[in-house]
């Protein structure tokens, strides 16, 4: 609550918490104005329309009375890793670097606000926007499941909760890159390339070499869909599945829930710490 000092008649500064809320509000308003939410609304509407509209032309929705709703939901989550990466890129990639590269820091930094409050406000606003998009997507999945099968499975909630954790970790990485890079464009491109190419490629190479890509963040994305294999935990895929196709032996590694939670949490904490330290120490040069 803002008040004036009785002696000096000057305004008393709000607490760090109040300032974090102020920053979150304004950053969220900016997110709304930038139409990114609208773009994501269009993306999830298009994906949902495709997932709902295409199966009837090819034999209908999965009909198994137990596994049908799971397979149905899995069709939606097959593209969710891409959606989450896009969310991280657009809501985290330029969140911090833009203050320096776009020179908006010249206006904001001379204000009596700690960098930590700015950082938290920006993070909360980005998280809020991402959770809104992700939540909307899961609401569409749930509503569609009820409409088609007349039922709802609890594993959808597990999948959503893990998706939020995974998305937060991706956002953390995007914030770290944003804090480190010099320009907004390079931060966006690097975040995109890291998630879509570098980590995915490393995952593939390690699997080819029969090594589990456990520490890689994108490897853990599989948990989101694995929850929808069937009733949990019975139908959750085993950590390893060996295949022998003609003269080829290969192993498919599946992420596990516990490791997924640990790895995502470590990525989240480490990347946010890095992002915070760099942002707090970064100087307004040039």
């Amino acid at each position: 609550m803002a008040v004036t000092n009785a002696e000096t008649g000057k305004y008393v500064l709000p607490s760090d918490f109040d300032q974090i809320i102020t920053v979150t509000r304004v950053e969220f308003l900016r997110n709304l104005r930038r139409k990114r939410l609208l773009i994501f609304a269009i993306i999830i509407a298009l994906v949902s329309a495709l997932v709902l509209a295409v199966p009837p032309f090819f034999g209908g929705y999965p009909s198994d009375p137990i596994l049908g709703p799971y397979s149905f939901a899995q069709n939606f989550t097959s593209t969710i890793n891409f959606l989450i990466i896009l969310l991280a890129v657009f809501y985290g990639g330029d969140a911090l670097v833009s203050e320096f590269s776009n020179k908006t820091g010249y206006a904001i930094f001379p204000n009596p606000i700690r960098r930590s409050s700015l950082f938290m406000g920006k993070l909360f606003s980005s998280l809020l926007a991402c959770v809104l998009v992700l939540g909307a997507y899961y609401i569409i999945i749930a509503a569609s499941m009820i409409a088609v099968y007349g039922t709802l499975v609890i594993e959808l909630l597990y999948s959503f909760l893990f998706a939020v954790l995974y998305m937060s970790a991706c956002l953390g990485v995007a914030f770290a890159i944003s804090a480190l890079m010099k320009s907004t464009v390079s931060a966006l491109v690097l975040t995109f390339v890291l998630f879509l190419f570098v980590l995915s490629m490393l995952s593939g190479i390690l699997m080819f070499a029969k090594v589990r890509a456990e520490p890689l963040l994108t490897f853990q994305a599989g948990v989101i869909s694995s929850f929808l294999n069937g009733p949990y935990p019975g139908f959750f895929p085993p950590p390893e599945q060996s295949y022998n196709v003609t003269r080829f032996d290969f192993v498919v590694y599946n992420p596990t829930v516990m490791n997924g939670i640990i790895v995502c949490t470590v990525w989240l904490v480490v990347s946010l710490l890095l992002a915070y330290v760099v942002f707090r120490r970064r100087e307004m040069l040039g």
Partner: protein, 310 residues
């Protein structure tokens, strides 16, 4: 208590010393010009004062609070314009200023009227509901000044406040600064424009290579040796004999003739001496039709100072 005290402030950039033990005290209700050539350390100083850069050494107190250790508290009663800041392009001036008002703890009922007041003060009322992304550099500079005045600060730190403005905008900003001085604000401003400093400031600090060269009142600097320059316009041309005689006059340190009928006299004397000089010129048979300050006194002094320091 002085609103701005800088103590042995230093800043190194990868081995390059941008600020070298700079010390300065700015008195309350004064307007201090901060002068120096490019790379002298002016913007570095202002960026340290506004928590954009970390000092390598030394301290800087804003209203008694060290900005190097407690920037939030130190900047509470400071308004600043550094370079030409950019604002969030998605927001309007009203939303932007309301944001800054909230960060500074201005209650929302008071913030509304104050935001409108400063918007009117910088003549941006017509664009108050337009998104800033469409604004010119000059318009953004006005918003920057508005946000610096929003909370009625004790100290204004301005980094080249008229940069990027058209001549009319420059004049308006100078009028705003003059009005702020009359209202009792303490102003610390850097500028490349010497006449601007001369016009607005009562004290001048000159820096070069990160060091303070001089800090004195404009009045004192103007009366120092080599500082006073008089411009004399004559009817008829100046010949060599007359030139030599003028050079030999009392308290004349040098004479330049930019045109055949004009003399620029470096003069080391007070008002009475100037009257004597005019009489002497007339006694020499020169038909003087204009005799005035050249208006470049500070520039002359400044150039001498910088030359000596390099």
């Amino acid at each position: 208590m002085e609103p701005l005290v800088i103590e042995s402030l230093s800043k190194d950039y990868d081995g390059f010393r941008a600020l070298d033990s700079l010390s300065l005290k700015v008195e309350a209700k004064s307007c201090t010009g901060f002068l120096g050539p490019n790379g002298a350390g002016k913007t570095t100083t202002i960026k340290i004062l506004t928590s954009m850069l970390r000092a390598t050494g030394g301290r800087a107190f804003l209203n008694g609070v060290d900005v190097t250790t407690d920037p939030k508290e130190a900047l509470a009663r400071v308004g600043a314009v550094v370079e030409t800041p950019e604002f969030y392009p998605e927001l309007t001036p009203i939303e932007t200023l309301d944001y800054f008002a909230r960060l500074r703890g201005i209650p929302s009922d008071r913030a509304k009227s104050r935001v409108m007041q400063v918007i009117d003060q910088v003549k941006m009322g017509e664009w108050k509901d337009q998104r800033i992304g469409k604004f010119s550099k000059g318009m953004k500079q006005r918003i920057a000044i508005a946000q610096a005045l929003l909370h009625e600060p004790d100290l204004l730190v301005l980094d080249e406040p008229t940069a990027g403005l058209d001549p009319r905008g420059m004049a308006e900003v100078r009028d705003i600064i003059k009005a702020l001085r009359l209202q009792g604000y303490t102003v610390f401003m850097s500028s490349h424009l010497l006449f601007e400093v001369q016009q607005l400031c009562d004290k001048v600090a000159v820096v070069d290579k990160g060091k303070l060269l001089i800090y004195d009142t404009v009045q004192n600097l103007s009366t120092k040796r080599h500082v006073l320059k008089l411009e004399v316009d004559l009817v008829g041309k100046i010949d060599t004999e007359t030139y030599t005689k003028v050079c030999a006059l009392d308290k004349v340190n040098g004479v330049q003739c930019p045109t055949a009928t004009k003399m620029l006299i470096d003069f080391d004397g007070d008002t009475a001496d100037r009257r004597t000089l005019l009489e002497s010129l007339q006694r020499l048979g020169l038909q003087v039709y204009s005799f005035a300050d050249a208006g470049v006194a500070l520039e002359e002094f400044y150039m001498d100072l910088i030359k000596e320091s390099r």
